[in-house]
């Protein structure tokens, strides 16, 4: 059974949210500085900033925070008491996640729920979270989600989907989880006109996505390219910082370390990146990926060859963050084109 879409007047957005916040922890885009935003748990609706196209840091933080305590421990004499921090008590809601980030959640699901071992920290947050997707009315020129199996209005993975109609939002309820929010007093039934306007916006947005990035067959292509001289040059300008991988919604490598105080402490996991030389450095001093060549290759191979081998999907959702924020303008689209030319 499907529920008719509703509309939400922008003037009532705050009141709507206040009601939602009585039940849910709401995680939404927040401006950290002028032009810089990320998803944060909000205390009041005024904190939300929906102005920017896409946040710098992706919404993956909601399930896979950059820095996360896994358990705390306390020492008493010889005994050590360990308390896991995996439980999520309150239901959570990610507000206004873009379709690209939502597509990335499904890729992270594959990693963190892979059958042998389930990552409880990720999955428990995932289970407790309702995802409110947000259509991209004007995708940027760096967006290429349509080439990675998504689109600016792709609803897949959303429990609720919002379309900005100018003075109001069209609210679509897509799953049972999403329908739980349909009883909000600030929602009105959408008119046919509203639905038609959303449809029109969708068509306009997809027209803008006119520069496809050729990703079909890239996995097979790369199978033959492990030792290609191409890698000798492509990494040259890469500084070896972690900007692209930390902003990437699909990158998921992490480090585990202990933070100790006198009587106890915590085990923590922090994002890490294959682009840091320290990432693969062994205690002996041996580094199996000794230079930018191997490290850049790892980043790209993981996205376009290794990940598809394991999970039948490329690990890129076309959000364009790595292109926009790379300090040296390393453009993954150009790299893909070059791979295709080989």
């Amino acid at each position: 059974m499907s529920l008719n879409p509703a509309t939400l007047d922008k003037k009532e957005f705050g009141s709507f949210l206040k009601q939602v916040m009585q039940t849910y922890d709401v995680i939404a885009p927040v401006e950290l500085a002028e032009g810089v935003s990320a998803y944060r748990k909000i205390e009041s609706p005024e904190e939300i900033s929906l102005a920017s196209h896409n946040t710098q840091k992706s919404a993956k933080e909601a399930f896979f925070p950059q820095s996360e305590v896994m358990f705390r421990y306390e020492k008493e004499g010889n005994r050590t008491q360990v308390t896991s921090t995996e439980e999520v008590n309150r239901p959570r809601l990610i507000l206004a996640s873009r379709p690209c980030d939502i597509q990335a959640f499904s890729l992270l699901d594959k990693v963190f729920s892979a059958k042998e071992y389930t990552d409880v920290y990720f999955l428990k947050k995932r289970e407790k979270t309702t995802i409110v997707g947000f259509a991209c009315n004007d995708p940027l020129s760096t967006c290429f989600c349509t080439s990675t199996g998504g689109g600016p209005f792709t609803r897949e993975g959303s429990d609720i989907f919002l379309v900005d109609l100018g003075d109001a939002y069209l609210v679509e309820f897509l799953t049972e989880k999403g329908k739980a929010l349909s009883q909000n007093e600030f929602l009105r039934e959408a008119s046919e006109g509203d639905v038609a306007r959303a449809k029109k916006l969708e068509e306009e947005a997809s027209k803008r996505m006119n520069v496809p990035v050729p990703l079909d067959g890239i996995e097979t292509k790369l199978d033959q390219m492990l030792e290609n001289p191409f890698w000798d040059r492509i990494h040259e300008k890469c500084l070896g910082c972690g900007a692209c991988t930390f902003l990437c919604p699909t990158c998921h490598c992490f480090d585990i370390s202990d933070e100790a105080s006198q009587k106890g402490g915590q085990r923590v996991r922090n994002w890490d990146t294959c682009l840091f030389s320290l990432y693969s450095m062994e205690t002996s001093g041996h580094n199996p990926r000794p230079s930018g060549r191997e490290r850049t290759r790892q980043r790209l191979m993981h996205k376009f060859n290794y990940f598809p081998k394991n999970f039948q999907k490329i690990a890129c959702v076309g959000c364009g963050r790595c292109i926009l924020y790379c300090p040296v303008n390393f453009d993954i689209r150009q790299v893909i084109s070059e791979i295709n030319e080989k």
Partner: protein, 279 residues
């Protein structure tokens, strides 16, 4: 949902310094909870993440055999923060482990075959587990000849001296221990592992080779195995790589699309041939 990141509580039952340079120390760990001991089933070749609260975790192959009940053994080379702390831990102290992790030596393939074990230096840990496992009477009957070649730089650096002495006496296996350089008390063989292998010249027919050692030893031993006509798919090795989660999530031990922690650490040379040399 079971949390795979939470360590199993263990107690240090016994510690032993293995080598003259005191850089290798074996910890024998006992389970604190009976249910953990019951649930802990492993096969030689698997490893655990040893966990010291406040210091962190590091992966180690299980050096004891599943046939040695009641405890687990790990031999630790002192190198970094965690291993240094593991060298300082005393009997009776508590610590944690996560495991068993990873795959194991392909014991089912060994049935009815000869097994050649080549070890060098402190990479002998899971090989000890394998040999003890194979020597257990009911397992021994399942494989044919067992040949073990084990080398270290000098006599003081040989691990598991008691076991070596024991194996030396046995008639159901052949043990060749060698050192790169002997000392005044050393009566045994002097020579590098690759050369000793050539000298021993085990037949490759119907034989599986398992080789673990420092990269330089592997580099020179592998061609000798080729000369002896061992096919790649019957040579196995156990890889070491930097690891963190041990369960195929954190990405650190990636080699191609495989994870050393989850898809390894044991690989055949046939598999390795298809992977990038990221190790």
């Amino acid at each position: 949902m079971k949390n795979p990141y939470l360590p199993i509580p263990m107690v240090v039952k016994r510690t032993q310094v293995e080598t003259a340079d005191r850089m290798l120390r074996t910890l024998e760990l006992g389970f604190l909870k009976e249910e953990d001991e019951k649930a802990f089933r492993f096969v030689p070749g698997q490893f655990c993440e040893l966990s010291l609260f406040g210091k962190g975790e590091a992966p180690f192959g299980i050096a004891s055999s599943p046939t040695e009940k009641g405890s687990l053994k790990f031999t630790i080379n002192k190198a970094g923060t965690v291993t240094t702390a593991l060298h300082q831990i005393t009997e009776g102290q508590e610590m944690g482990i996560r495991g068993p992790l990873g795959n194991s030596y392909p014991i089912e393939l060994f049935q009815g075959k000869n097994v050649l074990v080549i070890g060098g230096g402190f990479a002998f840990t899971t090989l000890r587990s394998l040999i003890i496992y194979l020597l257990q009477p009911e397992n021994r009957s399942k494989v044919k000849d067992i040949t073990v070649i084990y080398g270290a730089r000098n006599p003081g650096l040989l691990l598991y001296k008691e076991e070596l002495a024991d194996w030396q006496k046995r008639s159901d296996m052949k043990l060749v221990v060698t050192v790169d350089a002997g000392d005044k008390d050393w009566k045994g063989k002097v020579g590098l592992v690759p050369n000793v292998l050539e000298e021993v010249g085990p037949a490759s027919e119907n034989t599986y080779a398992v080789i673990c050692g420092p990269p330089i030893m592997i580099k020179f031993t592998f061609p000798k195995l080729m000369t002896l006509k061992f096919p790649n798919e019957r040579i196995y090795t156990s890889l070491e790589k930097r690891m963190k989660c041990g369960i195929g999530k954190c990405g650190r031990c990636n080699i191609g699309h495989l994870y050393v922690c989850k898809d390894g650490p044991v690989f055949s040379y046939e598999q390795l041939g298809k992977l990038p040399k990221d190790y």
